[in-house]
Chain length 409, copies 2
């Protein structure tokens, strides 16, 4: 019953033709690769996915590319040559899934639109990521992560209460979209295994972002007003103490988050214990959530007076151990240097043939105790021979002649 | 070949025992319900999922609950009665998937831990959401959305460059985690259909957040330093003009996002056309990304001088139509009032038996042109008879006697 592959055997035998670049598409197909699909990335022989050179580092694939293309194969094809285009059609004929995230209209102009591909392979699951949905007034517009975050309420709810809108750190517009498409592909694959049915899946980055904004839409439904900025708390408001509190050190991330739930009066009582103010447990100024809201400033100052005397790590440890939700504001370097992520397989170090050892975030869900193992992102065109001989049954000489004609590699 | 269900037939026949509350778990199981699984939510007869009453509205399920529990069924069971507990075990024996997101240790104390349930149903996919992973120093700690966002680098990268860390508007700690678990469940279901194999899936909210932070880890890999705050741009920096620009109106969200890519010099040239400054196209002060970075303030002011004379909608329309990525900073009310989302099925209005018509964000991925249809979240215990008679083959009289004994409903 136990799995040896830690999830990496889930999609054994599934073939994905990956015509994606940058992040929204690649994050989706990488997920399928982690779960065991054979994902073949079709790349331009001249440089491939622009993500490879995003950081401007010469001769080495950028960390961005390594992060979003692990466990995949790379096949370089010149799509401007009709024989290259035919090669992709032949591969699509053998694929279970095709994913693309080109600019609007580009895949159709290439002659690889849904109609063409679904006619030659009716059971394929043909998938597209766009910035704005078909039928939107902006369906032809270009989009990037930040545009999706601007147009979906995310920036309007991020920032100080009286400050300008800000973009959150995470690339939710890209990876957040890719994840929703991955779910839909997996659903369609499950059905297809039973019925043979293909499908045409489309997701727009703007639409996908609304899915992550549902606490904001919930708050609006309660108040009738647009959801406000979250500041350090939440678009739903919340009850003091709740937010970040300054800690020893005074650095930009020397804060601890403390949360006391309205639904659990014990959080506040326990916190009073931690900060040595049990004397206030029954003080009417603080006894109820409503009372604490009225005395927000005093309440926050009381907690801050304690947190300022502790490092964020101490504060998290002490408050958390007392049964109150608390978390240090950690930066990416602190996270990378914390050995427990690697011990648990949540970060894994790959040995890339050019870059060398590279520690990266792996798929964070554990199957029987471990996340799927990470293999390095492929070098450009690394799998040309493998894919053409195995998917298309080509003879090695035919592959060589394609290479000689600069159609591949 | 065409689907009638717009994806809602993908998981037909899959049974999910849903022991989740609030958002991280419910968002995951709701996704499975949208794709056609029969999701039965086990709820405490006294009030059920605390999300039902989150906003404090008496007698009506809160918008938060409606948003995260659509298309599910509700079964009320008193888990403190051994007969209620046995009922849940019987249901688990018939389920394909079980999902829980109780506090650490709670499900085991109930006697429904992975060992117990997997012993009685070896092919079940048993799934857990926790705040911190097993093996983390904080594995026993409580977590909520904001704690996960604090402890994963998200807050450290959100905020003004010289400001304090902030929490983004979206509830990524919850829904972002739920989506990664949903992907893993679907992968495991796909494998199980072939092999019969069950599994034990676990995801920690802190770990899941790292997945969305991979541009920040990429930037750190380039510089060796912790990723900075994104402000209105990106943790990767970027090239001016890039960010939000003020528009007519002067309201808190009267801004347009404009992005010019380093990789595409045409964006800047086109933008000069829009703002009527074609004369600067070959000006060495602005001709290259590096030159524009040196003259950031002048460049930004030039663009702002134009955007201030336009509404954010006009600005998005004109700049976008010229082939430059641009997006108005929209708030949740503007999005709700935009009829194109409902026309495209991205928002759908349900008719809830108590709340009445309620417009909500649907699953944003379209299957052959439409997202799956939304059905209202269930009233507490609405499906007691249905589930017990169909899953367990109980006679109606047995159900009645369970009800009479206050074991259900």
């Amino acid at each position: 019953m136990a799995t040896d592959g830690f999830g990496s055997d889930c999609l054994s035998g599934v073939r994905v033709l990956d015509m994606t670049q940058f992040e929204a598409g690649p994050s989706c197909t990488e997920t399928l690769a982690w779960l065991g699909a054979e994902v073949v990335k079709i790349e331009n022989p001249r440089g491939g996915d622009p993500g490879r050179s995003l950081g401007g580092g010469a001769g080495k694939d950028d960390p961005y590319f390594l992060n979003f293309n692990a466990n995949k194969k790379s096949l370089t094809v010149n799509l401007k040559d009709p024989r290259g285009l035919q090669l992709v059609k032949d591969l699509a004929g053998k694929a279970d899934v095709l994913v693309e995230n080109f600019a609007p209209g580009a895949i159709e102009r290439l002659g690889l639109g849904a109609d063409v591909i679904r006619a030659l392979n009716p059971s394929i699951i043909y998938c597209q990521v766009k910035g704005f949905g078909e039928g939107s007034p902006y369906e032809k517009n270009l989009a990037f992560d930040m545009i999706a975050q601007a147009c979906s309420g995310i920036m309007s709810t991020t920032g100080e209460l009286d400050g300008r809108p800000l973009k959150p750190g995470p690339s939710l517009g890209d990876t957040g979209t890719g994840m929703l498409l991955a779910i839909s592909i997996l659903g369609a694959l499950f059905r297809r295994a039973r019925t043979g049915q293909g499908d045409h899946l489309q997701v727009a980055m703007q639409d996908a972002m609304l899915h992550y904004m549902r606490i904001a839409f919930s708050q609006q439904a309660r108040t009738g007003k647009a959801a406000p900025r979250a500041a350090d708390a939440s678009v739903s408001g919340g009850n003091p103490p709740m937010g970040i509190f300054p800690c020893q050190g005074g650095g930009p991330n020397d804060y601890v988050y403390v949360y006391t739930s309205r639904a659990n009066p014990e959080h506040w009582r326990r916190l009073l214990g931690v900060i040595g103010r049990e004397d206030l447990a029954d003080d009417p100024r603080y006894a109820t959530p409503a009372a604490r809201a009225e005395h927000r400033q005093e309440v926050d100052e009381m907690v801050a007076a304690w947190t300022r005397r502790h490092s964020k790590h101490q504060a998290m440890e002490i408050i958390g151990a007392a049964g109150i939700p608390a978390g240090a504001v950690l930066d990416t370097l602190e996270l990378t240097n914390d050995p427990t992520f690697e011990q648990r397989g949540i970060m894994q170090t790959i040995d890339h043939p050019v870059v060398g050892p590279f520690k990266m975030v792996a798929w964070p869900v554990r199957f029987s105790g471990r996340p799927p193992p990470v293999r390095p992102a492929p070098l450009l065109g690394a799998d040309n021979d493998d894919v053409l001989t195995h998917w298309l049954g080509m003879a090695p000489e035919s592959v060589s002649s394609l290479r000689a004609a600069a159609i591949i590699g």
